[in-house]
């Protein structure tokens, strides 16, 4: 993966891009390049979206490759299908870049089998906060379309507004819309699998990609700036124990952030296990130290423990924040921490399947700055 991408195929848009992408997928099925497609689809009530594994082509027309919300992290969908084995079907999985990267992380963690999966991503404009959307889906749809038209992100989730990897390619095929000529889009191959598919579909990689690349470069640089600033202000707001406690003061310990997190893959979370259940005396003792003990206790322990466990693989997808009943800016906090911990190892989670997880590898000479000078 990650071969230099200087050439790509170009596909003409007939009436609208969504249809054309779906059409591209249908061709894939027609030519039996893949037997099924994993792609978001509006739920019957029309108030949200869900991933659907489609075998019956006629269903494709109702799919939407770029839904306005992320109710389920695509990586979880992929692992649900392949954790117990690759199966017989070849499946094209249409995922956002952060979902693709989470999938790559899960693969490193043995939670998916990508052999029969083709990962297809796209330039991502971000998504709307889920809770707002479900309250008024119609409004949400409209808002989302407008934002795309205008190329604005102010109505997107905060964590999307500061995402500098919204076009990062780590799957097999990437749908590039940025910098494409009017009524066209790029189909960028990022792997041999990808190349194979393009050739089978007889789409040749002639167009060169400078346009797309420079556009992506600008956007991610701009977003990176925003991100750094956002993190700076956030740090001043939540930095220090008191601020941190305050930030999590309303946490009700529902562990939703953990359960929707794509890279929290444990069947039984350490923080739900017996290891965190103590005799009554312990709680009483702790209460007596300070006069009173907030219940449920160990909120911060849980959050920090989670940072310890998954910040190296965090893809800043924002699921946690979407799912938090108390609107705690979990995703922003975690994206801040993740950037720093991943920097330590010059690691970007999900960037490349060949990159080993920092915790399962080491260099003999590294992290001197962490060691005691003396």
């Amino acid at each position: 993966m990650n071969k230099p991408k200087n050439k790509a195929a170009v596909v003409k848009v007939k009436n609208d891009i969504e249809k054309s992408v779906l059409d591209f997928l249908k061709k894939g099925m027609d030519n039996e390049i893949f037997d099924a497609v994993l792609i978001p689809m509006k739920v019957p009530a029309g108030d949200s979206f869900a991933y659907v594994l489609i075998k019956d082509k006629s269903l494709l027309k109702d799919a939407s490759y770029l839904p306005p919300v992320m109710p389920v992290q695509g990586a979880n969908a992929v692992s649900s299908i392949t954790r117990l084995g690759k199966g017989k079907m070849k499946i094209a999985a249409v995922l956002r870049p952060c979902e693709t990267r989470a999938t790559v992380e899960l693969t490193k963690l043995g939670q998916t089998d990508l052999e029969n999966i083709i990962l297809i991503s796209m330039d991502c404009p971000g998504v709307l906060p889920l809770s707002d959307f479900v309250k008024d889906p119609k409004k949400g749809m409209k808002l989302f379309d407008e934002s795309i038209q205008k190329g604005e992100d102010k109505s997107m989730r905060p964590v999307c507004q500061i995402c500098d990897k919204s076009s990062m390619v780590s799957g097999d095929i990437h749908i590039g819309t940025l910098g494409a000529k009017k009524d066209t889009f790029f189909v960028i191959s990022n792997s041999n699998k990808g190349d194979e598919i393009l050739s089978k579909l007889k789409i040749s990689k002639k167009e060169d990609l400078d346009n797309w690349q420079s556009k992506v470069k600008n956007i991610s640089e701009e977003k990176l700036k925003k991100r750094k600033n956002a993190h700076k202000t956030l740090k001043s707001k939540v930095g220090g124990l008191d601020n941190l406690l305050d930030t999590f003061s309303q946490c009700i310990n529902c562990h939703n952030c953990m359960r929707v997190c794509p890279v929290c893959y444990c069947r039984l979370c350490y923080f739900d296990s017996d290891k965190v259940k103590h005799p009554s005396d312990d709680y009483l003792m702790r209460a007596e130290k300070t006069g009173s003990l907030r219940c449920p206790s160990d909120i911060t322990l849980f959050q920090m423990g989670r940072m310890m466990h998954m910040s190296l693989s965090c893809v800043s997808c924002g699921m946690c924040e979407d799912a938090c009943p108390m609107d705690i800016p979990v995703a922003q906090i975690f994206s801040m921490v993740a950037d720093e911990t991943q920097d330590l190892f010059d690691y970007v989670s999900g960037r490349d399947i060949e990159e080993p997880l920092p915790f399962v590898s080491y260099k003999e000479k590294e992290l001197e700055e962490m060691e005691d000078a003396a």
């Binding site: 994993l38 869900a50 594994l53 269903l59 649900s80 690759k86 009700i252 209460a287 007596e288 219940c295």
Partner: protein, 368 residues
């Protein structure tokens, strides 16, 4: 008639005074109640051991951040408390705790329970927006007039079990001048002994049954509406798919549910993982399948597991990120299941769970 402590203060202040007495005179070693925890005035349950910290306690703050039964269970899971603790709970929380104790998930030993006639609580949403504070006066105005405040959670507005079971003390919180007088009934000998020697006037009183019945009938009205509404929505498999379609599978409802006490939920276990071949079969049948699958199955299964003990506390709905009307569904089905066994969850600790016992002659209507 029951002995009752009468204090010319608001219910909150009145009870706090009693709690203070209990801590200072070492009648109990800890007080478990709601407490303001920061300058923003966020409220959370706390285990208070130092009488001074009681100044921030707000026992009857109309909010249920979590169902307290879960915390008490965590507290006594590994064995009963070694020292006396008094816990201030809402009636539904107390009932939930009894259900947990029946399942060996906690112990009643060394615990004293104070509850109240419960006027209901605001949705968690409002705590998030920090808008409860400014609604407090409205809350008490309404309840003095025995009216039902629309901003309250639907499950509270329709709750008919607002008089606690198994409480050692019950605080009057429904009816006139609750803002001037706090009346604390001593329901048990235990309670009388606990407050022995308190410098407050104790007199014989009664919960005004007529007032409560009147209030109950209003709640019953609300319930009719809410049940009718959910009944229209729960319409066969398509109705279910519409209701639960937007479920994101976070299972927060289960995590918040006091009756869901399992270490690892059946629905997170490998039993519920689809093998590749299962996907193939389902696709052959349906042409497509939601992934991860099992949304409807999860909710049906949870209904099967908890309906018998559901106390209708509404915690599930409070935490649902996509506002599925869970509490109405679970309350309605819970009640109809419980009716079959003439069972009220949490009514009596000695009452067997219907699923752990049976009558030889029963349920004929279900056989053929």
């Amino acid at each position: 008639m029951t002995k009752a402590i009468v204090i010319n203060k608001t219910a909150d202040q009145g009870l706090t005074e009693v709690l203070k007495f209990l801590l200072e005179n070492n009648r109990v070693k800890g007080v478990f109640t709601l407490k303001k925890i920061n300058k923003e005035g966020d409220v959370s349950y706390s285990l208070i051991t130092n009488a001074d910290d009681l100044k921030d306690s707000v026992p009857f703050y109309p909010l249920m951040p979590v169902n307290a039964a879960k915390i008490l269970s965590r507290f006594t899971l590994k064995g009963p408390s070694n020292v006396p603790i008094v816990a201030v709970l809402k009636p539904c929380e107390l009932r939930a705790f009894i259900e947990l104790v029946k399942r060996e998930q906690g112990s009643l030993e060394n615990l004293f329970f104070i509850s109240s006639t419960c006027a209901g609580v605001f949705p968690l949403e409002m705590a998030k927006e920090r808008s409860i504070g400014k609604n407090l006066s409205k809350y008490f105005e309404k309840i003095k007039k025995l009216e039902i405040l629309d901003d309250l959670r639907p499950v509270c507005r329709s709750c008919e079990e607002f008089v606690p079971y198994n409480a050692d003390m019950t605080v009057k919180l429904i009816g006139e001048n609750i803002d001037k007088k706090s009346i604390i009934f001593l329901n048990t000998k235990k309670a009388e002994k606990l407050v022995e020697g308190i410098k407050l006037d104790v007199s014989e009183k009664d919960l005004d049954k007529k007032t409560l019945d009147n209030f109950k009938s209003k709640r019953a009205e609300e319930k009719k509406k809410i049940f009718a509404d959910i009944d229209n929505k729960t319409n066969g498999i398509d109705g279910l798919i519409d209701l639960f379609g937007r479920c994101i599978g976070c299972h927060a409802c289960r995590e918040a549910c006091p009756i869901c006490y399992c270490k690892l939920c059946e629905f997170d276990s490998s039993d519920c993982e689809y093998k590749p071949s299962n996907y193939e079969i389902e696709l052959r049948k349906r042409g497509g399948l939601r992934v991860p699958p099992g949304t409807v199955y999860y909710h049906l299964g949870r209904l099967d597991h908890v309906s018998i003990s559901c106390v209708g506390c509404g915690a599930c709905e409070d935490v649902c990120p996509v506002d599925i009307p869970l509490s109405a569904i679970f309350k309605k089905i819970g009640e109809s299941v419980q009716k079959v066994f003439d069972y009220i969850p949490g009514r009596a600790p000695k009452e067997d769970l219907p699923i752990t016992t049976f009558e030889k002659e029963e349920l004929k209507e279900f056989e053929e």
